[in-house]
């Protein structure tokens, strides 16, 4: 081994604390690249493979009804490669084990030939028997959420008639990688209330009067075809059949969600590593600059012996690369592990034939090159200084740093500071960039912590808003089927019940233009107090006397503004159509939903005074008795105590908080410790001689430590508030990324989270201090009398 490398290894051992702390920060950056990147690649790859393999269509259109021969005319449009016509319908489902009705999206599949596009893949079970209208396949997500197995029977309202269905298989399709459907009625488990079902074309067609006809078509394009022109030609063909609103993959609901997710992952996969690698570069830069300063003599000696400038520069680059290597050894496996956990999380949202997490070598190479680049950038200045140092000058001690009074003092504020504070502030002012970068480093750590954990504040806020402000009934009761309004009296008669408000829930397919969703419109009493309309900021609104109120999330999905008229298909009535004007938008936190005054809703549907359930408040201590009574009533499908929902919600959140907060706090602490520990080590290296002199002059260890950590304390004091602000910024960024159809993500950060952020950096500072204590105790008081810096 070359002697210079031997020196490198010995120095590394000597600097192991600093190397480890920098390596830790590099590891976080590498892990972030690997975790996010591998998840992204896994999903991207799964999507591309699945889309290609199952022949996912490029253009989609729905229409009222067209005769099957139209398909061949569609196929003649230039640029169209394949055409698949089908029958689709929204249906109401009665699912075993589910109190409320669910809604389904029924799609026909050919039983006499292979599907050309959007091929349905049967995971378990078998394909429906030709001509048997009771056999269906169900989507995997829906089957899992409701524990449906092969052989399970369901009922569905198909074209206005109840129909018994038997599940013969569990399936998936590239059209429903994400089973986008209705807003659902609860916030947790949307997939329980919406599912995709497939039935043979020869069975479904006749049920809807679509024998030899279709109401939905999907196309694939030949290579190089112009999607927009195909869409225009298709619209022109379909407009007389009630179509004319064809759309491409970019608007395909499942694909939109998938694409957004991939975009978010990519954004985080760039931002997160960038933060850590920036801090790593900064740490490498300060540590190496100091190393070069303390090794002036050695550098000069090496040059005097004839080492080239670039040998010296490469030697110092070696330290930076060692930190990267250390970071890689820790970061790559950790990142791969986190990536596999992330991927496992996505399995709950996306259905792919196979979603096997894979960390590619290219990605590992990429993460290492990015980390190495950041370390090299950090080391550049120090390596250049070392290379440029003339040997003769290196033999002499460095010229002393010229200090000057603080800006404040120059402005006339003299005598404000004690000498200790002056020492700290002047040394920061002397190297403003280093101080600024340290402050930024601490701020980023605090910001990462706050930005990484605020989601729980939001969840808690959502829970609180949902269960304490919006839903104030002690029990929410749902009926097996809509009942006349006089059911109120049955509820009122239950012992212990103090107040009853009835509601009506109507499942619909709501559409505007070619955009649609399946939701439930809830009819509420105008004077009701147990279930209210509340926006994200907790403001309560009265329900307007007429028209439909939509959540803002739904309005933006449908691109609807107040005053627009939307189309409703009533799923309970086989898709009968209604039109209603949207009168107001509600900035609700959760989901896609619609609200109307209950009487108005009854009138719109064309039914009498009918209710779907009741919100009930109870006298104190009456819960178990009232529940017992209610559950015995034959008309009651379910009665859920709000308290139980709140408790299970909070329990879920709390267990997630513990894990995530620990991980985020760990990452943020690694960053904070990296900044503070290295800062203190460098301060000790630069001022060790001063501090030892002060010890000789009679300063105690504690006083000397105070001077040493003064700068770190100042960095903390300045960096922490900045970090808290930054945390809010990161939170805003994350919130806008996560704002989705199901959740509107408010930015709420509680004092507790801020406090924990502060505790985290203070603890990191103390940790760095404890690690330094031995070194302060070991300050050589005798040596300092004899040696010159």
């Amino acid at each position: 081994m070359r002697a210079l490398n031997r020196k490198l290894l010995r120095d590394l051992r000597h600097l192991r604390g600093q190397m480890l702390s920098i390596g830790g920060v590099v590891a976080c950056g590498v892990a972030a690249v690997v975790a996010m990147g591998s998840t992204l690649q896994t999903i991207d790859h799964a999507r591309a493979t699945y889309y290609e393999h199952a022949r996912f269509a490029d253009v989609f259109a729905s229409l009222k009804r067209a005769p099957e021969p139209l398909a061949s005319r569609i196929a003649e449009i230039s640029g169209v490669a394949a055409v698949e016509t089908r029958v689709t319908a929204a249906v109401l489902l009665d699912v075993p084990g589910l109190a409320e009705p669910a809604t389904g999206w029924m799609v026909s599949i050919p039983t006499d030939r292979e599907q050309t596009l959007n091929q349905v893949h049967v995971r378990r079970g078998r394909w429906p028997t030709p001509g048997v209208s009771s056999e269906v396949l169900v989507g995997e997500r829906f089957a899992e959420a409701n524990a449906l197995t092969i052989g399970t029977r369901l009922s569905a309202v198909i074209n206005g008639r109840w129909q018994r269905l038997t599940i013969v298989g569990v399936a998936m399709s590239p059209e429903f990688v994400h089973e986008v459907g209705g807003g659902g009625t609860t916030m947790f488990s949307d997939s329980r209330h919406f599912g995709v079902l497939w039935m043979g074309r020869d069975a479904l067609g006749p049920l809807y009067g679509m024998d030899g006809a279709f109401n939905d078509v999907a196309l694939s394009l030949s290579p190089g075809a112009n999607e927009q022109s195909v869409i225009e030609r298709l619209d022109a063909l379909l407009v007389r059949y009630g179509g004319g609103r064809a759309y491409g993959r970019d608007d395909q609901p499942s694909n939109v969600v998938l694409t957004n997710e991939v975009k978010q992952l990519r954004a985080f996969g760039i931002v997160m590593p960038a933060v850590f690698l920036f801090v790593a570069a900064f740490l490498v830069s300060i540590v190496l600059s100091r190393l070069v300063a303390t090794q002036r003599g050695e550098i000069a000696t090496l040059k005097a012996f004839g080492y080239h400038d670039h040998d010296i520069a490469m030697h110092f680059m070696g330290y930076a690369l060692a930190a990267v290597l250390l970071g890689a050894v820790m970061g790559v496996p950790f990142g791969a592990w986190v990536g596999s956990k992330f991927t496992a999380l996505y399995v709950a949202y996306f259905t792919f034939p196979e979603l096997t997490h894979h960390t590619s070598l290219e990605l590992v190479a990429l993460s290492l090159s990015v980390a190495a680049a950041s370390a090299v950038i950090g080391a550049l200045a120090a390596a250049r200084t070392a290379a440029a140092l003339p040997p003769a000058e290196g033999m002499r001690p460095p010229s002393p740093l010229v200090y000057r009074p603080l800006l404040l003092e120059r402005l006339g504020f003299t005598g404000v500071f004690t000498p200790t504070i002056r020492m700290v502030l002047r040394s920061m002012e002397r190297r403003p960039w280093r101080a600024a970068a340290s402050i930024l480093g601490v701020a980023l750590a605090v910001g990462t912590f706050v930005g990484g954990t605020f989601a729980f504040d939001v969840a808690m806020y959502m829970g609180d808003l949902q269960f304490r402000v919006i839903e104030r009934a002690d029990l929410s009761v749902s009926f097996i089927q809509p009942l006349p309004a006089r059911a109120f009296h049955d509820m009122r008669a239950v012992p212990g019940v103090s107040r009853v408000e009835m509601y009506r829930s109507v499942p619909v397919r709501i559409s505007y233009g070619h955009r649609f969703r399946q939701i439930a419109i809830t009819g509420l009493e105008r004077e009701g107090t147990l279930r209210r309309l509340v926006d994200a900021d907790g403001r309560t609104y009265a329900i307007p006397p007429a028209g439909l109120v939509l959540t803002k999330a739904l309005a933006s999905v449908l691109r609807v503004a107040p005053g627009d008229t939307v189309r409703l298909e009533l799923l309970e009535r086989g898709g009968e159509e209604r039109r209603v004007v949207v009168t107001a938008l509600l900035d609700e936190l959760l989901g896609t939903a619609g609200y109307m005054e209950i009487g108005e809703l009854n009138r719109l549907v064309g039914e009498g005074r009918v209710v779907s359930g009741a919100y009930v408040s109870l006298e104190p201590g009456a819960e178990s008795r009232a529940l017992g009574m209610l559950r015995r009533l034959p008309s009651v499908a379910g009665a859920t105590p709000r308290r139980a929902m709140l408790e299970s919600f909070e329990e879920q959140i709390t267990s997630m908080i513990t894990l995530t907060t620990t991980v985020v706090a760990l990452l943020a602490s690694i960053m904070a410790i990296g900044v503070l520990y290295n800062g203190a080590r460098i301060a000790l290296s630069e001022r060790g001689r001063d501090l030892a002199s002060l010890r000789v002059l009679g300063f105690t260890k504690r006083e000397v430590a105070g001077m040493l950590f003064g700068e770190q304390a100042a960095v903390n004091v300045l960096g922490t508030p900045l970090g808290l602000l930054m945390g809010v910024g990161i939170a805003l960024l994350i919130a806008s990324a996560f704002d989705s159809e199901l959740y509107r993500f408010p930015v709420i950060v509680t004092p507790r989270t801020y406090l924990w952020g502060v505790v985290m950096v203070v603890a990191a500072g103390l940790g760095a201090g404890i690690a330094m204590r031995r070194r302060i105790n070991a300050l050589n008081l005798v040596e300092v009398l004899k040696t010159r810096e």
Partner: protein
């Protein structure tokens, strides 16, 4: 259990010269002092059973070649190092039995140090360097007063980097005496200075000794300096080989080397 040294913090201001030898108090009483360093396999006997009394108000020059043991002796007297055997009593208190905390207090209250390389804090001005010490002392001078005593009243607002070596060393002396210590320990105070500035610094030390009556010990390998002392000790291989009193202290202007 910590033994604390209840030390008189302030030496009363007296005008030199000191009274008759027999009446003078011994500030330091050193008995059978030995110090052995272990350097790997080798034992280095830095001090071999030294007996010594140092008297109040004396300016003592401690001569010796490098490695003779003079710095070891000074370090032990200053509470920076502990002996292997023997005792050192300062104003009646046993320094050899004191722990780190008591030694820190001893240095803080009773000892002024002057280093060969000044060791000023570069980010503090002359005045602030002195103030750093006066702020932790019980009965200090004003920093300005201490600086005036070494002839640097007009340089109080300069930073170390703006001063010559001799000026920096005089600031260091001002810093050492501003707390009115009972002893002033100077380790090669002129070692890093040229002839002229070296004499300025020695003059400052002599002035302090004369005007404040501070017992002063100056380590040097420059024998010429011995002429300015009340008492001269020569140390060699860990033994005191010469102990003499000058009949008359030479003025600094009389010294030349």
């Amino acid at each position: 259990m910590t033994t604390t040294l209840a030390l008189p913090s302030v030496a009363p201001l007296r005008a030199a010269p000191p009274p008759r030898e027999a009446l003078r108090r011994a500030v330091y009483d050193v008995r059978a002092l030995s110090k052995i360093y272990r350097m790997g396999e080798i034992e280095v006997h830095a001090l071999r059973s030294v007996d010594l009394e140092l008297y109040e108000g004396d300016l003592v020059v401690l001569l010796g070649a490098s490695g003779s043991g003079k710095s070891t002796l000074l370090n032990i007297l200053g509470g920076l190092d502990t002996p292997t055997s023997g005792t050192v009593r300062f104003a009646g208190r046993d320094l050899t039995a004191a722990d780190d905390r008591s030694l820190t207090r001893f240095r803080r209250e009773s000892v002024g140090f002057v280093f060969q390389f000044y060791n000023l804090i570069p980010s503090l001005t002359a005045r602030e360097n002195v103030a750093l010490v006066t702020e932790i002392s019980r009965n200090p001078m004003q920093p300005e007063e201490a600086l005036a005593m070494v002839g640097l009243a007009d340089r109080a607002d300069h930073f170390p980097a703006q001063m010559s070596g001799g000026e920096q060393q005089r600031v260091a002396i001002a810093r050492a005496i501003a707390k009115r210590p009972e002893v002033l320990l100077c380790d090669e105070p002129t070692g890093a200075l040229d002839y002229e500035t070296g004499k300025l610094v020695l003059n400052a030390i002599a002035t302090v000794n004369r005007e404040l009556g501070t017992t002063t010990i100056v380590i040097t390998h420059n024998a010429v300096i011995a002429a300015m002392a009340d008492r001269v000790l020569r140390i060699s291989s860990g033994h005191i080989v010469e102990d003499r009193r000058n009949a008359k202290r030479a003025g600094i202007e009389e010294l030349s080397w």
